[in-house]
């Protein structure tokens, strides 16, 4: 956290000061309590505990990046039962969050952010005519509209303050912000979904008091469990897929790690051109699996040093179809399958298997083609050393418009500038390596496959 820019520190100081001033003023002005003191304190305590329980292990609903916490249900219950001051106090407890790995500055900022958004929500609720206190039957449906407005204000202020901070953070965090933007709609919906739990807690308080919070927590924890399982399964899935793809690659020393790098490159390029998160995920998998069909190509063809016969060339050119045949049963997006099948098409229509041109080639395939060729060129091959990044970029530009989509080549270069590229560092084949190695690389645009001249 020491690497914050001056602007970020200023921003944080402003938010903290605003929260502190607001809190101090409202404590000073707030002399009259609507409830008895003991009940007010009891409710505050219960909601603060609820807030901490929800906040200590935030859950990611949309994807790995955007942590989301159901703590807003506690804040919004406080808005109804305790008013703006109580809600702000519940927000302050975020200081005590049991979340691990938080810096002091992060805690302070979070607490200030929650305080401000809770206070804003509380004021909105009051302004629109919501009555503060434990709701009775006669309060409904009157308080629903002010509550809904308060929930929206809470979410908006919260996300507004947070994205302000993320904007000012150094690159890895601001990349997170970019992805957050993609997820924003779903994030807002889930936030509002859990905000309504706040209304439920308040509504049931007069019936079952503390038990309302318990009852509300059960579905919340189940949702969190499912999301945790999802994340664990997703990690396991990625690892398994990578292991299986590696197994396919073991046949050829030089292409080790190729699938994983193409997967990363394709995802990077997809993000650069602003694809939706779901499609980025799909292209990540498609990139990983783009060459599985190569297994159907006999090893002796892959390792042949001389020119290929027509049949051998055909065997190599069949591999996208073979790959499709293997991958088809997986419930991927249709686009991912198309990406695997057509990743060797060329923009000028001279590619394979179908010879599609320009826009006829599915976007996924055009993206994978760029990442595929780039990784091939920056990796060592038996007939040449690895090219430098700038040399490979120059080659991409040279083939831009004939082999590759010019728009995507430009975007890829920009993405490289921003995120960089890890070249493989395997240059020496260990003696006694059991697998073989290819003599030619079908992915390399600078060294096309040599074919025996037909008479």
């Amino acid at each position: 956290m020491g690497r914050l820019s001056r602007a970020a520190w200023l921003y944080m100081a402003a938010v903290l000061t605003a929260a502190a001033v607001l809190l101090a003023c409202s404590i000073y002005l707030h002399r009259r309590l609507d409830l008895g003191v003991s009940q007010w304190v009891l409710i505050l305590l219960v909601l603060a505990i609820l807030f901490l329980v929800c906040d200590s292990r935030p859950t990611t609903l949309t994807s790995r990046q955007s942590a989301w916490s159901a703590s807003s249900s506690a804040t919004l219950a406080a808005v109804v039962m305790l008013g703006p001051l109580g809600a702000a106090l519940v927000g302050v407890t975020s200081l005590l969050s049991m979340r691990r790995g938080l810096y002091v500055a992060q805690r302070a900022f979070n607490a200030a952010m929650y305080t401000l958004s809770a206070f804003a929500a509380g004021q909105t609720y009051l302004t629109l005519g919501g009555t503060v206190g434990v709701p009775q039957k006669s309060s409904f449906p009157g308080i629903i509209a002010p509550f809904a407005a308060a929930a929206v204000v809470h979410v908006v202020v919260n996300h507004g303050l947070l994205s302000g901070m993320l904007l000012l953070l150094p690159p890895p965090e601001s990349a997170r912000r970019a992805r957050l933007g993609v997820h924003l709609p779903l994030l807002l919906v889930s936030d509002l979904g859990f905000a309504t739990l706040g209304l439920l807690i308040a509504a049931l308080w007069s019936l079952v008091s503390v038990f309302a919070a318990v009852l509300v927590l059960i579905p919340l924890f189940v949702a969190r469990w499912a999301i945790g399982q999802f994340a664990a399964q997703e990690r396991a899935y990625d690892a398994t897929m990578a292991a299986l793809c590696q197994a396919v690659e073991t046949k050829d020393f030089y292409t080790r790690g190729h699938s994983e790098r193409v997967s990363r490159g394709a995802a990077m390029l997809a993000r650069q051109v602003g694809m939706h998160a779901e499609r980025v995920e799909a292209i990540r998998y498609a990139g990983m699996l783009h060459d599985v069909g190569k297994l159907g190509v006999p090893t002796k063809v892959l390792q042949k040093t001389g020119p290929l016969t027509e049949e051998e060339l055909a065997a190599i050119q069949l591999h996208p179809m073979r790959g499709l045949e293997i991958v088809r049963q997986i419930g991927f997006l249709e686009e991912a399958l198309a990406g695997i099948m057509h990743h060797h098409e060329r923009v000028d229509g001279k590619g394979y298997p179908l010879g599609l041109a320009r826009d006829e080639i599915p976007e996924f395939a055009r993206v994978i083609a760029v990442a595929d060729a780039f990784d091939s060129m920056t990796s060592t091959r038996s007939y040449r050393g690895a090219r430098r990044i700038d040399e490979a970029i120059a080659e991409l530009r040279k083939w831009s418009g004939t082999q590759f989509d010019p728009v995507l080549v430009d975007a890829f270069v920009r993405a490289l500038d921003r995120e960089g590229w890890d070249r493989p560092d395997t240059t020496v084949v260990p003696p006694g390596f059991a697998g073989g190695m290819s003599a030619q690389d079908h992915d390399d645009p600078t060294a096309p496959l040599r074919v025996v001249e037909s008479r």
């Binding site: 999301i227 999802f230 299986l244 590696q246 197994a247 046949k251 419930g331």
Partner: protein, 431 residues
């Protein structure tokens, strides 16, 4: 269709007819409320989700129906719907919600609907007559306790019904099926039960608006489960698909991995293995030949039983190390590693059956022999090498005979026995 499922459908159908007839005769009590709950149930049925293991659930629909069965008061008015009306409204709501599924060409999922309906009926029959008691409306804690007890009982009854159907359809053991069912369902069951009580309480306090408000948090739970179930099934599909690379590469015969996978799972189920173990067994069976990819060229004729023991050893080791790379499938790797080990049963045939059943936890190597998963794959692999895609009865019998002859050292007699039962089912006419 299986007899158990038929029985379930008949029971649910009769209940449905009786409930609708009685409700029609008596007229709807509090029609506005009935329509609101019916709409919630239909909406929930529309948003069905599948749980691991090809199960179906409609958490929002179930919560709505249970809430309708449990509600004591809606706003200022006591809820007076009789149990039969609860059932009728639930059934009609479910049917309406299922129609779009039918229109989209998806299976109607009648069995799932029937078991959900029976669970709701159970809760309604017990709770509706009690709902007029002053004790419940005066003492909210008594009411809550009764509701919680009923929700749990209803959930358990649904699990028993589902387990019965499943055990019947898959030829699994009932006890194993019940434990599997409870393991898969309890989290969602808890969420549904708590939501049903929330609906009942919130309707009391807020009136019908409560239904609309509760949809939001229920949806979040639903989305979470959907994603979880989705990645689980993609995982399995992917392993199934990628297991085929050995076939495309010409290392083994077409369809070999899938046949061994199916056979191994059927044998494991016959031996009373539970679902998590069966899943690992299936993964191991699908990938048992993956080690061959590390060989520069296919072994002539594929990795059949005829390959030398050294080659089999090497393939098993290489396969296990590939799977270990993933870092999350260590038990699967262990099963693959031990697949070539002979069963060194020193005792006579029938005791083997008992030990295979009891050692079915499948974890590591229990005792001196290889894990039960490895023993199953070894036998299933040998069987498929000898029989292949053929369904010829004589060939099947000959293969089984050959395996039986080797039960002294090579194959686990209990596994071979289970295998012959499973293989025998493929020829029901001449069994």
């Amino acid at each position: 269709m299986d007899s158990g499922q038929l029985l379930l459908l008949a029971a649910a159908g009769m209940l449905l007819v009786a409930a609708v007839a009685q409700t029609a005769a008596l007229g709807l009590t509090q029609p506005r409320e009935a329509v609101a709950f019916g709409a919630l149930i239909a909406f929930g049925e529309l948003l069905r989700l599948s749980l691991p293991g090809d199960r179906e659930a409609a958490p929002i629909g179930s919560a709505g129906a249970l809430g309708y069965a449990l509600v004591l008061q809606i706003g200022f008015v006591p809820a007076r719907q009789p149990a039969m009306q609860v059932i009728a409204v639930t059934a009609v709501g479910m049917t309406v919600g299922a129609l779009p599924h039918l229109a989209a060409g998806r299976p109607a999922g009648v069995a799932g609907m029937a078991s959900r309906l029976l669970a709701v009926a159970f809760v309604a029959f017990v709770f509706r007559p009690l709902s007029g008691l002053a004790m419940l409306s005066m003492h909210v804690w008594v009411a809550l306790t009764v509701m919680a007890g009923l929700v749990v009982a209803g959930w358990f009854a649904e699990c028993v019904i589902r387990a019965l159907i499943r055990a019947d359809a898959l030829r699994a053991k009932f006890r194993v099926a019940l434990v599997d069912e409870i393991r898969v369902q309890w989290q969602l069951g808890a969420a549904v039960g708590a939501s049903a009580m929330l609906i009942a309480l919130a309707a009391d306090e807020m009136g019908l608006v409560a239904l609309a408000i509760l949809i939001a948090p229920l949806l979040v739970t639903q989305v979470a489960f959907r994603r979880y179930a989705g990645i689980r099934s993609t995982y399995l599909q992917t392993v199934r698909a990628l297991a085929r690379v050995t076939e495309v590469g010409g290392y083994v015969e077409d369809g070999h991995s899938h046949r061994v996978g199916r056979l191994a799972v059927a044998v494991g189920r016959e031996l009373g293995m539970n679902e998590p173990d069966l899943l690992e067994l299936e993964y191991a069976a699908l990938m048992h030949d993956i080690g061959q990819l590390s060989l520069p060229d296919p072994i002539p004729g594929g990795a059949t039983v005829l390959v030398s023991p050294e080659d089999q050893r090497r393939i098993a080791e290489l396969g296990a190390s590939v799977i270990e790379q993933a870092g999350v499938l260590d038990r699967v790797a262990e099963i693959v590693r031990c697949q070539d080990r002979p069963w060194r049963g020193t005792e006579s045939g029938n005791t083997g059956s008992g030990s295979a059943g009891s050692g079915s936890t499948g974890s590591g190597s229990t005792g001196p022999g290889p894990p039960v998963g490895s023993r199953i794959i070894r036998a299933a692999n040998a069987f498929d090498d000898l029989v292949g895609p053929s369904t010829d009865r004589d060939r099947t019998m000959a293969a089984l005979e050959r395996l039986r002859l080797d039960t002294a050292t090579q194959y686990d007699p209990g596994v071979v026995e289970a295998l012959s039962k499973v293989a025998g089912r493929r020829h029901p006419a001449r069994r």
